[in-house]
């Protein structure tokens, strides 16, 4: 490589003015857990979609790493099956598949065996030469979380990954799936392992929610419009509700879920990210650190919860058995591989405050759960009522306050609830909804979250990935809650599947004179 060329700031003049000006360098993506479900359902289909839509360079290469004794051909066949089953661009285009498949390789390895990393290194060195990958390596950890530390350690000690700032050509980056640790201590321990081989700016902690168009649109709605930000504060907003509801159960993931529960599975990552994006101050630029600095400031402004507050401001629950749409469904404790006496929560509701100038006194109510009424994720900003009820006796008392809701899924869009006069001689008021739906207005299907995030990782843009301080702050909050729950003797409350969770969740918000939104 010519040392006089500034590779970081290199600009291909032919890319100027193109919609995507970001030029992608040749690279190899090394997927640990290449025969697993995430690779099968998400990663390989996303890579193929990117190949179809062109951003991948000709030299782009994938090396699958797993324990099964696959050949390159068998891995390619598995990739073909994945794409045929899960790609949004199926069926496979034979000509594109042919060139894409030529870049797929497989390396059998035990994730904790140092000798296998030597073999992997040799393969990657060979591909550097044969395919012109130029030493650029993106490692993707799609394994069970208990292997993350070992893989990070061995990538570093074997020299397969290059720590940034060295003389060797090319870059190394590592993408780590959630959960990043089990608590604050394990997250820090994992980070230490990764730091042996990777600097912070080489570590990409993925939270696929941040790859969703609608989540990115939270920032556009707030900072791309002039009308929302002036009222986005305690003077106008009464409270915020964030809901991440699923109608399904744990779908055979008992091994993971028994260890995690709803608070680690959803609250620590997805919900804290949604909260941070809703509450953050405007960043100076739309750059990775500027955005993440502001998110961290918002998370840091959440005061630590006292044990007494946790009993009052958090609710956990577990779904019991019941009937949904005529089908009998088992309770959580009757799910395969779940302990019959499990106290793992499948529902969490909590009330958080953000103590800063903008949000003082505005509660953020969060709820998430499995086997709830419907699958819906939304952020609802409920505004304060008008200071004076001008239309007494016109039904104004029954009117809903203004609510701006941002629906993340399904029916991605934005709604504004406001009051309108019912046509007629009398002055009667009613709440009406003004809806904006992405699909209706733009008529295009957004890309899969993984496509955007993989592309960003290859391009070295970490804006939509979680930085370690965000992760640690979220774990600090969750650890406090989990510790307090562990001390309580009372058994976890169960709730009827298909409902909106335990009654205590209603009580949590009703104590403040508010109610959960009916979704």
């Amino acid at each position: 490589m010519d040392a006089t060329i500034d590779t970081a700031n290199f600009v291909n003049p032919l890319r100027q003015g193109m919609r995507s000006t970001r030029a992608m360098q040749p690279c190899v993506m090394v997927i640990f857990g290449a025969t697993g479900d995430l690779t099968h359902r998400k990663l390989l289909p996303a890579l193929y979609n990117l190949a179809i839509e062109q951003p991948l360079p000709a030299q782009f290469t994938v090396v699958g790493v797993a324990r099964r004794p696959f050949t390159d051909e068998q891995f390619r066949q598995q990739a073909l099956d994945s794409i045929n089953s899960f790609s949004r661009r199926r069926p496979v285009n034979p000509a594109i598949w042919e060139t894409f498949a030529k870049g797929l390789f497989y390396c059998q390895a035990q994730f904790e065996n140092p000798d296998d990393y030597e073999n992997l290194g040799k393969l990657l060195d060979r591909l550097d030469q044969e395919r012109g990958v130029q030493g650029n390596r993106l490692f993707y950890l799609a394994t069970p979380p208990n292997y993350y530390g070992a893989i990070g350690d061995l990538l570093s000690s074997s020299g397969v990954a290059k720590r940034g700032g060295g003389d060797a050509p090319g870059w190394s980056r590592i993408v780590v799936e959630k959960p990043f640790g089990h608590d604050l201590a394990s997250a820090r321990e994992l980070n230490s392992s990764l730091n042996k081989g990777f600097r912070e700016n080489q570590i990409y902690r993925i939270d696929h929610y941040l790859g969703k168009e609608t989540v990115q649109n939270i920032m556009v709605l707030r900072f791309g419009n002039g009308i929302f930000e002036p009222i986005w504060n305690r003077q106008y907003i009464d409270h915020v509700q964030i809901t991440v509801a699923e109608s399904i159960g744990i779908e055979g993931r008992a091994d993971y879920y028994e260890q995690a529960g709803a608070i680690r599975d959803i609250v620590q990552n997805h919900m804290m990210q949604l909260l941070a994006l809703t509450a953050m101050e405007p960043p100076n630029t739309f750059g990775a650190d500027a955005v993440r600095d502001e998110k961290v400031k918002a998370l840091r402004a959440i005061p630590p919860l006292m044990e007494s507050e946790i009993a009052f401001d958090t609710v956990r629950g577990q779904y019991g058995s019941g009937i949904i749409l005529g089908e009998t469904v088992p309770g959580y404790c009757q799910e395969p591989k779940v302990s019959p006496t499990s106290q793992t929560e499948t529902f969490v509701a909590l009330k958080l405050l953000i103590e800063n100038w903008r949000w003082a006194g505005v509660p953020f109510y969060l709820r998430t759960g499995k086997r709830l009424t419907k699958r819906v994720t939304e952020i609802a900003i409920q505004f304060k009522r008008p200071p004076y009820l001008l239309f007494q006796g016109a039904g104004a008392q029954q009117l809903q306050p203004n609510v701006l809701s941002m629906r993340i899924q399904p029916n991605e869009g934005i709604s504004l609830l406001f009051s309108a006069k019912v046509p007629g001689q009398e002055m009667r008021l009613r709440s009406v909804n003004m809806d904006f739906l992405y699909g209706s207005s733009f008529g295009v299907e957004p890309p899969e979250a993984y496509e955007r995030l993989l592309l960003d990782a290859m391009l070295g843009d970490s804006t939509l990935f979680t930085r370690i301080d965000e992760t640690e702050l979220a774990w600090t909050l969750v650890d406090t809650i989990v510790r307090a729950w562990a001390k309580t003797k009372a058994p976890i409350a169960t709730y009827e599947p298909g409902t909106w969770g335990p009654k205590a969740a209603d009580a949590l918000i009703e104590r403040d004179g508010r109610t959960w939104r009916r979704l």
């Binding site: 003049p13 040749p26 949004r88 299907e445």
Partner: protein, 439 residues
Amino acid sequence: MSASTISDGFGGAQAPNDLTQTMRKVEPEAIETELDTSWREANASALASGGHAGARNTVMTLVIYANNRSEARRALAVLNDPGAQASRAIVILPSGATGDAPIEAYIATRSQTQEGGMTSYSEQIVLMAHDGAVQHLPGTLLPLIVAGLPSFFWWMGEPPWRTELLESLMDSSDRLIVDTAAMPQPERSLMALDDLMRRKKSSCAISDLNSARQAPWRELVASFFDTPEMLAYLGAIDQVSIEYAAGAEYTSEAPTNTAQAYLFAGWLASRLGWRALGGAGAARGGNGEHEQTLVNGVNQKITLQINARYGVTLKDRFDVSQVNIPIPTQDAPGAGADLTQSGAASVAAGALMLVRLRSTVNGQVGSFTVAREADLEHASTLAKLPLGSQPSKTVHLPTIGETALLTEQLHQLEHDDLYEDALAAAAQLLDPRTRRVTP
């Protein structure tokens, strides 16, 4: 889209012909009132049958000038595509016939329910101008443009350059959309477009569907030079060959369309700071061959060759069956994957067939080729360098229908600098005597 449904706010009463048979004839001055009525009636009907009321979630106005009924039908087919955006669309159709009134108006409201229950709503207005009343259309048309929202103006076919009609409609639009593939004298049209762009730059952006068609080619050529090591080759290009599809064999009458080739050459020239030498720098052969000498920023010469490729089956570019491009969805196997027509392989006249760049660095030659495959549906890259070759890459070159091309343009509000720079450079290649300042 396989599972989409379209419902009209109106029945076929008073339909004078197939063009407007699902529309309702109204008085021009009552268009807004009638549209309001139609929404109210459609919503009342939907609510009465247990459905949901629709919303007029218009995001823009799209004005379309259709030269004849055939083009108007194509326009309506594009508007009725499930991928179309929620809009108020106004189709202008000049008619030589004598009518009861100089301008006839037809309206329709449409809701399209897609898979997953997503519904989009649109309004369509057809203004038929009889007896030369087209010159007076702005008075009827301009009040119908939705205030405060982006307004686009699609002129199908070749616009009447430097006319009051074209320019007054442009003045009310944020973007003029044309298609140089549909223009019989593309080189003259590129020059006229360049002239229009320069005069209207402050008020209206310009896009060309023909430029959007060649985006995959630009992407592939750019991708050769995405690493710093390749920068030297980019700066040392000394020969560019571009071939475009020109039909089965050369005949003096056979139409050829060089617009894509010139736009591609213009793109390269604008990005790399090349300009055509005036005077004796250009030569034309009888078989659609064109050779020209350009110079780069340090006065090194570049030979530009634009050649017609014969032996290629051309398709009818305006086959309406191409218009309805399915939106790819996860639940619709096959949807969106194959955008080509069945039958023998064919491409539109003027489509790019090959781009080859030759570069000489320290006396060693490298070449960078993007070539359309024999199936005409794919293109492959080949980079030959002194120290070996890069891996080849193959991409699908879908026959992108007008809906998809148009939709892409409708997403852009600001000037498309890439296109405008390429157009200016293409015009300079076509007329080197005119010394333009490359933007």
